[in-house]
Amino acid sequence: MGKTRLPAVEDWFTIDDEPRLIGTRCTQSGTYFFPPEHTMSRAPGFADSTLERVELSRTGTVWSYTNAGYKPPDPYIPVSDPFEPFVIAAVHLEAEQMVILGQCVAGVTVDDISVGTPMELVLETLYEDDDNEFVVWKWKPIATATPATGSENN
């Protein structure tokens, strides 16, 4: 107890009860960027546009998903021994018209989601050291949604 809660990466998401990813928006073209782009708008032809900080939609739908059956190599930091598989989802945000990757929260398996499943953004501990817990954004199936169908493994 008493560990300090820190983001695993600076200024990519807000830390609160309803966390949101932080992006930037090219004000002239209307294009969003995540991770936030600060140098220049990458929308071709809009180099002189202003990039404004925006908080992205915190819900979306699954574009696709997979899992990690083997422990990823360094710099991934293992959180359990033996390794426990985790799910990774690519989630489509309607307003921003983009797909963003994230791990799914602990306990979600590939049988719990399918393409189109509504998801929301939450924060969960990615790894800890003696003094701090480092949190990251994760995707969580929205509880009130119709249970996922299909997409059985076999």
Binding site: S64, G69, Y70, P72, D74, P75, E96, M98, I100
Partner: protein
Amino acid sequence: MVEPVAIIGVGMHPWGKWGRNFVEYGVAAIRDALADARIEHTDVQFIAGADTMRNGYPGYVAGATFAQAMGWTGIPVTSAYGACASGVMAIEAARQRILAGLCDVALVVGADTTPKGFLAPAKGERGNDPDWLRFRLLGATNPTYFGLYARRRMDLFGDTEEDFAQIKIKNARNGLNNPNARFRKEYTAEEVAASPMVADPLRLLHICATSDGGAAVILASMEWAKAHGHTNPARISGVSTVTPTFPNVVIDMPNFSTDSAAGLPVAPRSFKEAIGDAAYAQAGIGPDDIDVAEVYDLSSALELDWYEDLGFCAPGDAHKLLRDGHTHMDGRLPVNPSGGLACFGEAVPAQAIAQVCELTWQVRGEATGRQVEGAKTGISANQGLFGHGSSVIVTRP
């Protein structure tokens, strides 16, 4: 259309897990290619090396490394890196030299020695490098992305795990008699299904290994080739090294997100479709003209993506081509007669060059034990992370 260049020599060092210096593999491939071309090293006027990122400084300057290893002759060199597409970047550098009239004969070489297991990012704390961050923040390996593509095929198009297994089985059978292949063993659907899950729905036997290997090609102007006894050489008729068009709405390695399509319209052709389009346009041909294809089966499911992206069928129909046997050795468009990455594993800087070696043997009718009958026109395709397209069209009338 673009003027062709002749492929006068090809050579490979067998793929494997030999654990030796990558330079050895490259030199062996070069010597085979020189012998095949019936020329001496001193006849080469330009060397383009495809870089490896896992073998220290000599790997970053592959062109010079191989120029030195073969014996300095004072010629210009270049070194190219485009991840899995590095080999084609080197081929393109050599082709440009020849087409610009700056040289007659150019050598292209790539070789690698790879570590075991997942390809991992460069070491150190590198918080501005998306390739480092994706491992740290997401635990997203290369197979993660392959798994996302495969699962989406299943949910959208009705592909099955059995389809993915049949790709592995087909390619394993194709490569049985290929002396350069690392894995020469037949598999059953049961064996594939029993292999451990790596990135759902992809199992270990759906995903290519990392390998050691080396490949080289010697290119020449058509005029020089004909004047030196190569009366009807295989030729490179198209080379594609295209990048994506903004907004790219398909998630690509090693990114955290796609581009946003909220502001600007999405191009009518996807990045992977554009890769083949550019090669076809240069060669002045289309998908119907292709007799044989070597495509990047980093995962078995990715081979199906290429059928659609290269225009062999409509989006979503790839599994029909497979199930109907069209892409088997006795079908109308055999894919990966070499055995593909399923039999080779990936030696990153050598792989795109190896694809061109195989297509050259195919159009010459020299692919013993895996020859596509009457093959005149072949296409290769692959994609390197960070937005590198790679495709080559090889023809021999």
